[in-house]
């Protein structure tokens, strides 16, 4: 392992890497070692054109770019020397020659690299007297992205992304010299399933998503680490929230799952929590108070269990490991057979999205649930919503539905209890590669709704079942899950960290 010295501190770095990558791998880039950069991105091919990451290496006459200079043992690097600072200032001054100073109306303000680096490394005042470049404003690149050509600093991250990741290559830099402009290739639209990633990649406010544009200033947002539930990949995301409202999902780095990308469908799924929600319990298809619903549900459970009638359950691959484990425990208490579940199927795209369009089918499998699209005949069914069609329930006399959204099942169930979507609760999912990943509560629903596990516990408690009086808590359940199911050992909510853990074999 080569040893290098940066600003008089010694580091041991992996062999065969470029300096910037090596620093980033140590987790020190811009948080310990200040090497500003625009065109470089850890997941994209090196471009080496912004020249922002220039550093001074002892014994090398010219400044070198950290993004394309291989690490050598014994290298002595300065990131703060006067030459480096002058060069950085120069790059920033030149970038600002043609960049509009419209930060007050720019969506990127507050999370803009040009703004940040200008504050950190730039000149106190510009020296240009020339009029700035005039280019296209508010260009419609496709269904998801709006482009401000004047703000573009031509780092070409978006160009490389479209070429490398979705492989669609809609974007290019046209003309040359100071007439260079990033544009769509003639006759194309930026309309691929990953198009919105270019807005994350854009270091300035040139590429913005139509969805987030003008909604809120970035400094009002705080980010919560969570996981997308639109397929079994479980892309790691930040949910940006303000005032108990989610404004966007942005992908979060996880090399084992999604690098730093996510699909547009998943990104926009933060809206799922807002639309068409079940906001009250239903008894016999009619709105009822939450307590009424709970009483009715517990009466049904008690009656079925006392009369010795069979109880069956259909779980949902959208439920967390903890919720599913609670269901498993309840069925054991009731002496009922293990739950079944059904997974909505779609297409895998070979990039990130999987054919299983639910986040936790592996979790259900790991807990011993069987896949089935039907429910065996029984006196009472406990059904988690989202997946099963009403036709699958013809053999069940009565059923309790636990669901987040209104559907054609809601009217037919004996009782419906409202539950929480992924962004409203804590828990974990097990993705297609058997990686258990934690999601966090980002917002609270403004009506009474609980996670499936918490609802089951309350039903059981109301029904007077033994051992169910303790209020449900995802962390406590997670601990029991890890203790009782060997596959989950080491995969407790408090142990999963930022990037998750793999299920034990």
């Amino acid at each position: 392992m080569p040893k290098i010295t940066i600003d008089e501190k010694d580091y041991e770095v992996a062999d065969g890497l470029m300096i910037l990558q090596a620093i980033d791998d140590l987790g020190l880039l811009m948080s310990g070692v200040d090497i500003p950069h625009y065109c470089w991105h850890p997941k994209l091919p090196i471009d080496g054109s912004c020249r922002m990451c220039q550093i001074e290496i002892e014994g090398v006459p010219k400044l070198q770019i950290a993004c394309n200079t291989p690490v050598k043992d014994g290298m002595v690097i300065s990131t703060q020397s006067e030459r480096v600072q002058t060069a950085r200032q120069g790059v920033l001054e030149l970038l600002l020659l043609n960049h509009p100073l419209d930060c007050p109306i720019c969506d990127q303000a507050g999370e803009c690299k040009l703004q940040d680096y200008s504050f950190d490394f730039g000149m106190p005042a510009g020296r240009t007297k020339e009029p700035r470049r005039v280019a296209k404003k508010a260009v419609d690149l496709g269904p998801t992205i709006t482009f401000d050509q004047e703000r573009c600093i031509l780092c070409r991250r978006c160009v490389r992304f479209c070429r490398e990741v979705p492989g669609t290559g809609e974007l290019g830099v046209f003309n040359r010299g100071e007439r260079s402009l990033m544009e769509l290739f003639p006759g194309t639209q930026l309309d691929n399933d990953y198009s919105m990633n270019v807005a994350d990649l854009c270091p300035v406010g040139a590429l913005t998503t139509k969805d987030f544009r003008f909604k809120i200033r970035s400094w009002f947002l705080d980010d919560v680490e969570t996981v997308c539930d639109r397929c079994s990949t479980g892309c790691n995301v930040y949910a940006s929230r303000s005032n108990n409202k989610i404004y966007r999902f942005v992908p979060r780095l996880n090399d084992d799952v999604n690098d730093t990308w996510m699909c547009d469908h998943g990104r926009l799924s933060y809206k799922m929590g807002r639309e068409n929600r079940l906001e009250s319990a239903l008894v016999g298809g009619k709105p009822a108070s939450f307590i009424e619903g709970l009483r009715k549900a517990s009466d049904l459970v008690r009656a079925a269990s006392e009369s010795g009638g069979t109880i069956v359950a259909s779980a949902s691959p959208f439920s967390s490991n903890e919720d599913l484990f609670t269901l498993r425990k309840l069925l054991e208490t009731l002496g009922a057979p293990p739950a079944t579940f059904s997974v909505p199927a779609g297409k895998a795209d070979g990039i990130l999205t999987q054919a299983e369009k639910a986040p936790n089918a592996e979790g259900a499998r790991a807990l011993g649930f069987q896949e089935s699209d039907e429910l065996a005949g029984a006196k009472l069914g406990i059904v988690f919503g989202h997946v099963l069609p009403a036709t699958a329930l013809t053999q069940v006399e009565k059923w309790i539905l636990i669901d987040t959204h209104a559907s054609d099942l809601s009217g037919k169930a004996a009782v419906v209890l409202p539950s929480r979507v992924v962004t409203e609760k804590d828990g974990s999912f097990t993705n297609h590669a058997k990686r258990v990943q934690r999601f966090r509560r980002v917002v609270e629903p403004s009506w009474e709704a609980w996670s499936e596990g918490a609802l089951l516990q309350q039903i059981a408690d109301f029904a007077g079942l033994d051992g169910w009086s303790e209020p449900w808590d995802a962390f406590a359940v997670s601990k029991r899950l890890c203790d009782e199911v060997p596959a989950f050992s080491g995969c407790g909510l408090t142990e999963l960290g930022f990037c998750g853990c793999e299920l034990s074999k």
């Binding site: 471009d47 080496g48 922002m52 120069g90 030149l94 031509l154 010299g177 260079s180």
Partner: protein, 430 residues
């Protein structure tokens, strides 16, 4: 049409002779002797010979040609490629054009020597698109060479010595004369220099190991082989042996090409071109194409070789000598030069993309009487931001002329700003 240089030496000896452009005529003038000599030697010996001859690349950078050949990987696991840089686009430079038009077989012979030495099996002659005539001459020559058995399999009866040449037309971008910009363009991509590493010897044209040399550089190699080191080193200086073609343009009586020894005094070069037009006073000379810093009249007692010119803060470049008499407005020179670089920057690197335009705008403002005193500070600062900080040397080439002009003719910039107009009414038009 120019058919021969105004002063000739070994390289251009037969350039007036039309038959020299045919395979027969070329062979009649001892053509391919150099190649025959080369194949009688081991490839490593040829590389060593060219290296020790001290032949410097004639494309502008002046790097030892044989040393460059030695960077090519050994062994035959990967197809190796030679690229001949005929994209001559430096303003003030027009020598390669004549070599291609009048001595195409010299180029081919040089390429074949390089191919033998480096093990390359394919080469591409990349010619500036505007040189339509040179392209057609080279194409015909390549056809004849192929028909005559100098291209193809087992050349000169040497088993395994296979080579073929493709003539490729550029599309008119200065930056495609830059080694890696040329390779990108050759591969069908936008002509933009590549970041290094990897270097062309590892990852060049189409990702194959590649050596790029200038047209003139290749043309000299046959003489080194056929006539020997001692003979070759009898020309020029110790560090820059051989002759080169100086293209003299501007305010001289007899502009044109002159094949002179390296190290010829600049005064003699100008004298060969008939001196300054109309007996006027000399003001300045750009010694090696527009991108090289200017020399004022007081400093032209210099010999034309890199080692002497760099002492004066300039470079030999491509040997394009641009002479300016006392009517010349040096701010206009700055405007013209900076306009060229503003127009030709590929636009990848921030400094070059934004800086070339800024420099041009400042120069233009000064020339048109709208300069401000702080512009002088900008003109000394901004080129520094470009110099040595980009992927390729283009930004240096854009910075140097303005730096040179500011160094030697700062007073003219000041005059423009004070008088709010150009004080040289008789200067060339822009």
């Amino acid at each position: 049409m120019i058919t021969e240089p105004l002063v000739k030496n070994y390289l251009t000896e037969h350039y007036g002779d039309d038959s020299f452009r045919t395979l027969k005529g070329y062979e009649a003038k001892n053509g391919f002797d150099g190649l025959r000599k080369a194949v009688s030697m081991e490839p490593e010996e040829v590389v060593e010979m060219v290296k020790s001859s001290g032949l410097r690349g004639r494309g502008g950078a002046g790097f030892n040609a044989g040393l460059k050949w030695s960077f090519m990987p050994k062994g035959n696991e990967r197809t190796k490629v030679l690229v001949v840089n005929g994209d001559e686009s430096e303003p003030g430079s027009f020598k390669d054009r004549l070599i291609m038009e009048r001595g195409p077989f010299q180029v081919i012979e040089g390429v074949l020597i390089g191919a033998w030495a480096t093990g390359a099996s394919k080469s591409f002659i990349y010619i500036r698109g505007e040189y339509a005539y040179a392209i057609s001459v080279m194409e015909k020559a390549v056809e004849q060479a192929r028909a005559g058995g100098f291209l193809g399999k087992n050349i000169l009866g040497k088993k395994g010595f296979d080579h073929d040449i493709v003539v490729h037309s550029g599309a008119g971008a200065y930056i495609c004369g830059e080694e890696t910009g040329l390779l990108e363009s050759l591969g069908g991509k936008k002509g933009q220099p590549r970041i290094k590493p990897p270097f062309p010897a590892q990852h060049g044209a189409f990702g194959l190991p590649t050596t790029v040399n200038n047209i003139e550089t290749f043309s000299h190699t046959s003489f080194i082989l056929s006539r020997g080191l001692e003979w070759f080193q009898g020309f020029g200086t110790e560090k820059s042996p051989g002759t080169t073609m100086f293209g003299v343009s501007g305010h001289v009586e007899r502009p044109g090409l002159f094949e002179l020894e390296m190290g010829t005094p600049l005064k003699d070069v100008i004298a060969q071109a008939g001196g300054v037009r109309g007996g006027r006073a000399l003001k300045a000379v750009i010694p090696g194409g527009i991108s090289m810093p200017v020399l004022p009249a007081s400093q032209i007692d210099v010999r034309m070789a890199e080692e002497f010119l760099s002492e004066r803060g300039s470079h030999l470049g491509t040997g394009g000598v641009m002479v300016m008499d006392d009517t010349t407005c040096m701010v206009r020179v700055a405007v013209v030069a900076s306009y060229f670089f503003r127009d030709e920057s590929c636009g990848q690197c921030t400094q070059c993309r934004e800086g070339t335009g800024w420099i041009n705008k400042i120069c233009d403002r000064i020339e048109h009487g709208r300069g401000m005193p702080q512009d002088l500070e900008l003109l000394s600062d901004v080129p520094k931001l470009l110099e040595g900080q980009t992927i390729c040397a283009f930004a240096d080439a854009a910075a140097w002329p303005v730096q040179g002009l500011m160094r030697h003719f700062r007073s003219e910039f000041e005059q423009h700003i004070e008088q709010k107009k150009c004080p040289f009414p008789d200067s060339f038009e822009i």
